[in-house]
Every structure is written in structure tokens, then in C-alpha cells.
Point group: C2
Chain length 221, copies 2
């Protein structure tokens, strides 16, 4: 039997063309796409197919449609991946312990990289964030500072995928376990101990000591 070479759906072929232009660097973040009418003429397909393709790319977080202005290449894929990943997880009867394990793995790697790759400026910023953590002052929400420290560390890893996966795993965790910090505080530590541990992580990074940073991170996640 011969294969039908036009078996792939039209809207899918439109998506592929746009995807390839992105992968080849011909379309960049912020670039404006041609209008639906122009795309339809250039590719020789119906406007319905173009619209279907654009809907898909919009949901994927690859294009953004601004009313009255047109469609632009954007970069919200990180956020848009959270829903499909949550579904993939549910459809596979995933265990929430899998997410905790993933987050642990990412953070233990990130903290070592942060101690090696963080710029002097970032170390200074980390110092300032961590000082807020042990202040007795009630105006500071310790849970928020805690999050800020973990996020800062993943940025300092200078690995875009590690940073993205951290964000994704945190969101998955929040989808499946509400208020995980509260649970950690309740079950494993006194809040003050937890704050001190975070301070020690920061100090180890500032001392550029990856092994010590790793050791303290292991205690809080």
C-alpha cells in the first residue's frame, strides 16, 4: 500500500511551518505574524485552517493575540505547559511523591550550581533576602521569602531548563497539595528552625561552597 502523503491535517501542517520558522530562528520572541488573510494566501489554505492553527499555538503559549493589533510570537510556554503536564500526570495515575522527588532533585542540583555560577551581585541580593527571613518583624511573610530564596537559587543555576522545571514542579505541587510549606512546617520543623536552615543555605552559597549548600538544602526539602 502507498501512504497518503497529505494524510496530516491541514491545520497541523500550518502549525509545523510556524514551528519550523521558530526553530530555525526566522521568527523570534516579539515578532508580529502576518494577518490571517495573508497567511491563508501564502500557504494556499483556508482561513478556517489558519485560525485553527493559531488557536492551537495560542493555547500552547507560543503566540499571543492582541486585539486590534494582530498575533505576536511570545514566550508563555512555561506557564502553558503546566496544564498539559498536570493532565499527563493525572492520566498516568501519578503519585504526588513523584513531584516532591522531582523538585528535590532539581533543587539539590540548582543549589550546587548557584554556589558556583552566581554572580557577585546575585550573592549580594541573596544575602539581603535571607536577612529578612530571620527578622522578628511581623510585616514579612516568611512563606513568601522562603519561596523567593528557592526561586532565586534556581535562577542562579544559570540553566534555563532547571529554572523552568522548578517553576513547573512547584505549580504541579500546588495543584496537588495545597500549601506544602505549611505541611513541611507542621510535620518536620519548627518554623524558626526552617528559617535558620534557609539562612544557612544562603550563607553556604555566598561562601561559594556547593557541598555545604547541598547539605543544608537536603534538610529543608
Amino acid at each position: 500500500m502507498f501512504n497518503n502523503i497529505t494524510n496530516e491535517k491541514i491545520y497541523q501542517q500550518v502549525i509545523n511551518q510556524i514551528q519550523n520558522m521558530i526553530l530555525e530562528g526566522k521568527l523570534k520572541n516579539g515578532d508580529k505574524l502576518m494577518s490571517e488573510r495573508e497567511l491563508s494566501q501564502k500557504m494556499g489554505v483556508s482561513r478556517t485552517s489558519i485560525r485553527e492553527a493559531l488557536r492551537v499555538l495560542e493555547t500552547m503559549g507560543i503566540i499571543e493575540s492582541r486585539q486590534g493589533e494582530g498575533n505576536f510570537i511570545c514566550n508563555k510556554i512555561e506557564t502553558s505547559l503546566i496544564q498539559p503536564l498536570s493532565m499527563m500526570f493525572t492520566l498516568n495515575n501519578g503519585d504526588y511523591k513523584d513531584i516532591i522527588e522531582l523538585r528535590r532533585m532539581i533543587e539539590l542540583e540548582a543549589v550546587k550550581l548557584a554556589a558556583i555560577r552566581g554572580t557577585d551581585e546575585e550573592l549580594e541580593e541573596l544575602k539581603m533576602i535571607s536577612q529578612r527571613l530571620t527578622k522578628k518583624d511581623e510585616i514579612y511573610n516568611k512563606g513568601e521569602i522562603d519561596k523567593e530564596i528557592h526561586y532565586k537559587i534556581t535562577c542562579m543555576s544559570k540553566n534555563f531548563l532547571i529554572k523552568s522545571l522548578y517553576t513547573i514542579s512547584l505549580n504541579l505541587l500546588e495543584n496537588f497539595i495545597i500549601n506544602s510549606r505549611q505541611k513541611i512546617v507542621e510535620f518536620y520543623h519548627e518554623e524558626e528552625t526552617l528559617n535558620l536552615q534557609h539562612k544557612k543555605i544562603c550563607e553556604a552559597i555566598i561562601d561559594r561552597n556547593p557541598e555545604s549548600a547541598y547539605k543544608y538544602m537536603k534538610k529543608v526539602i
Copy 2:
């Protein structure tokens, strides 16, 4: 100003309803969806909006349309995530070293978990795969056996997210670097040494020695 509460596009609302049914466990892998006509009646929206939503879900790998049979919930999300992730990576000017680092992190964790969690049956299977690696016989493609070992190890980690991310990172790697094994062989090792290292990884797992398995894995990735 008031917010327009119906601001979210119709097709997006349809997607959300189906997504929520999946997340709540009301729709499971293999379930058949209602027909486009029925969905359109139940949700009180046009068939165009239903079709747009189904297109998106199909591209995401959440539903599969079988000709003459209808739409079914499926689970190809893992595969469908590779394209958006590749684009996210390109749009962010990602460095291919980031992918290598990610893969390294995943495999070093997986190999420890495999030594702890692998079933006796899986250890036996791993033994058989690894024996093929050092056979002089030309009929075995060593590159394929190499891949098989790494994949088996990530399955033995019993963490679904680790397994999925391994598959995704491997695909990203292949999108950005063609034939990475060939490069590893050329630059770092004699092929025979590489095969022996893999055998040692397998032996350490079979001995249920996570630290030793970790040590040998570190040498080949």
C-alpha cells in the same frame, strides 16, 4: 472598571471543561468523548468552537481522533510536549549544554533509585541486556543497547516524571545535537571502554548498590 467575565474565548472555555473532567478523574485514558454535535448541544456553544477546542486537545496529545469512530482520551502528552519544549528552548536562546546538564541530573538520580526500587525481575532483565553489550557479535547494535539500558534504568526509578523528563531531554538532545553517542564515543572514550562502563552500572544496580551505580553513571554521561 469592571472585568468582562466572559472575556475568555469560547473554545478556551470548552478546553477548560474537558481538562477539569480529566483532572477530577471523570474522564480517563481510553474513554470516548461525546460527538461534536452532542458536545455542542450540552455546552450550548457552536460546533466551530467545539472543533477548535478538539484541535487544540488533539495537538496537545490529550485526545485522539479515530476516523469513523470518534474522539478518545489518550495519553500521548509526553510526545506532544517535545515540540513546545523545543520551541520554548529556542525562543529563550537556550544553550544545548543546559540539556546535557538536565539529562545528567535526571540519570544520576534515576540510577540511584533504580538500585533501590528495581524489582528482582527487572534486575534480571537488565542483566540480560547488559550481557549483549560486551558480546563481540556484530549483529548487536551497541548504540541501541546503550539506549535500552538508560531507558530501562529510568523506568526502574519508578518515578513517572523522571522517566518522562528523561524521554523529553533525550529528544531535545537529538533535536539539537545529532547522534550524541557518536560524539561521546569520539571525544571521551574508546567504544569498548564505554560498553564496559555501562556493564559496571548494570552490575552495581543488580548488587543494589546505589552509590556505586551513581559513580559509574557519572563516568558515561
